[in-house]
């Protein structure tokens, strides 16, 4: 894999004259998992969309990009809360969507290999409608991995899953996205405590860095440091509100 760049963003952003975030200065270290934690409506998703380059409605007064100076376009993969699977395509074809959309020859063997890594090899010929919520997010993860981009943007991808499925998805994503620059937007303090190698807390007033636990991620959900970090983060969220 190509070396993953770090990301940086600074400045303010408005949508139709209304401030959505900033002024702020934000760094996402290269090859690490960064959680951007905050309550709803503070502009977390807007920051993510700005990095993804799908922020047409956002007027950014500042800079946004990779710290190696090269443009981010073509180096980013996106995974959202909704799985965004095409219901008329099989799981395999959904995994191959990016190649198809770029007019490239789809690599079916690679897609099958990735589907088996996310545990969907038995479901590759099914349509998404036949899958459970957790399986659908696995398929979305497979599609994201197929893109093989050094930067992965996650917009609350696990928040609609039940607790056990969510924990399993967190472990799986942590394993499979290792080495990439991950920016993970979430409003779940427990999730940030489990996964964040760097934790950024965005509130209406400011962006602050909160020290993550010392242990490597993914951390046990019931680990002492994880619970302590979750508590600290929850307190921060309460104080900011």
């Amino acid at each position: 894999m190509i070396t993953a760049p770090g990301l940086s963003l600074s400045g303010t952003a408005d949508i139709a004259g209304t401030r959505v975030f900033g002024p702020l200065e934000m760094r996402v270290p290269a090859g690490r998992w960064t959680c951007l934690l905050g309550p709803s409506g503070v502009g977390k998703s807007t920051i993510l969309r700005t990095f993804a380059g799908i922020d047409d409605e956002v007027a950014l007064d500042g800079t946004c990009g990779a710290d190696d100076g090269a443009p981010l376009a073509g180096r980013v993969a996106l995974m959202a809360q909704s799985d965004l699977l095409m219901p008329w395509l099989t799981v395999l074809d959904n995994a191959l969507l990016g190649a198809r959309l770029r007019g490239e020859t789809p690599d079916r063997d690679a897609a099958r290999a990735i589907l088996s890594r996310v545990g969907l090899e038995a479901h590759s010929d099914k349509k998404p409608g036949a899958l459970s919520g957790g399986q659908r997010q696995r398929a979305a993860l497979a599609r994201t991995l197929m893109e093989d981009r050094p930067v992965v943007l996650l917009d609350e991808p696990f928040s609609a899953l039940d607790a056990a499925t969510r924990a399993r998805m967190q472990d799986l994503a942590a394993e499979l996205l290792r080495g990439r620059t991950v920016l993970h937007v979430t409003h779940d303090a427990a999730e940030a405590a489990r996964l964040g190698e760097r934790i950024l807390l965005l509130t209406e007033h400011e962006l602050q860095t909160v020290a993550p636990p010392d242990t490597p991620m993914p951390r046990a959900a019931d680990g002492e440091e994880t619970l302590a970090a979750q508590g600290r983060l929850t307190r921060c969220l309460l104080e900011a509100a």
Binding site: G53, L78, L84, P87, L97, G98, L101, R102, K127, G129
Partner: protein, 245 residues
């Protein structure tokens, strides 16, 4: 099956029909009874069949051409903002012209044969198909469009691989409407000027006071329209269901 469920209502209608004829003492040249119409249907079966074939061809040709043209227009409009700005007002304005009023002009231009009726059927279904499909094409969930953009998709690929498949249910609802409208267009065309077809046969029978034949032709037309609608309905529903299974 459904045919069995329909037997009851059909019998009820026939009974009511007969009751009206008997109770009001209707002369057969105003309202013939079901038995007379059935008799006309049988004795004139060859005549009716010959004319029905013509109408069916007109309707099916108009339906196919209208669906293809409507789908093409919807995709063209959805793909190009310039086309939308230029053509949409024209399309909307064109709806202010009653299609029926165009029938004499179409007959003048395309003659008394099949072409003017096909054109009529096509015109009457073009707008419903176009607008239903176009509206669906413009409502592609934004998450999919964002995803495609991040993936580096070309506009053409997004259209064919995301927007069109996502909009198929809209196209199908336009098509279902079209299946009901197309026979209307063909019949109007035949009324204005034709030498064949069920609409022509109805006028002819009316002129010769063969009201039972007129009703027989009407019955055949109604049954054909029902079958066409049910056929389109079944085929498209199966298609949509298979699509996501």
């Amino acid at each position: 099956m459904r045919a069995v469920h329909l037997a009851g209502p059909a019998l009820l209608v026939i009974a009511l029909w007969q009751a009206v004829v008997v109770a009001l003492d209707m002369p057969p040249f105003i309202l013939p009874g079901p038995a007379r119409v059935a008799q006309a249907l049988w004795t004139s079966r060859v005549l009716i069949a010959e004319n029905a074939v013509v109408t069916i061809i007109e309707v099916l040709a108009g339906l196919v051409l209208g669906a293809v043209l409507g789908a093409g227009s919807a995709i063209g409009l959805a793909a190009s903002e310039r086309a939308r700005r230029l053509l949409r007002p024209i399309l909307v304005f064109s709806q202010a012209v009653p299609v029926f009023a165009l029938a004499p002009i179409l007959t003048l231009w395309f003659g008394y044969g099949l072409a003017s009726k096909i054109a009529m059927a096509l015109l009457i279904i073009y707008f419903p198909v176009t607008s239903a499909f176009f509206d669906a094409l413009m409502r592609t969930p934004s998450g999919w469009l964002d995803l495609a953009r991040v993936m580096g998709a070309g506009r053409r690929q997004v259209m064919w691989r995301v927007r069109v498949p996502a909009a198929l249910p809209g196209f199908v609802s336009g098509l279902k409407l079209a299946a009901v409208y197309a026979p209307i267009g063909a019949i109007i065309g035949e009324w204005v000027g034709a030498s064949k077809g069920l609409g022509y046969l109805m006028l002819l029978a009316n002129g010769r006071a063969k009201i039972d034949l007129m009703f027989a032709a009407l019955l055949v037309l109604a049954v054909f329209t029902l079958l066409l609608h049910a056929g389109v309905d079944r085929a498209t529903e199966a298609l949509l269901r298979r699509r996501t299974r």
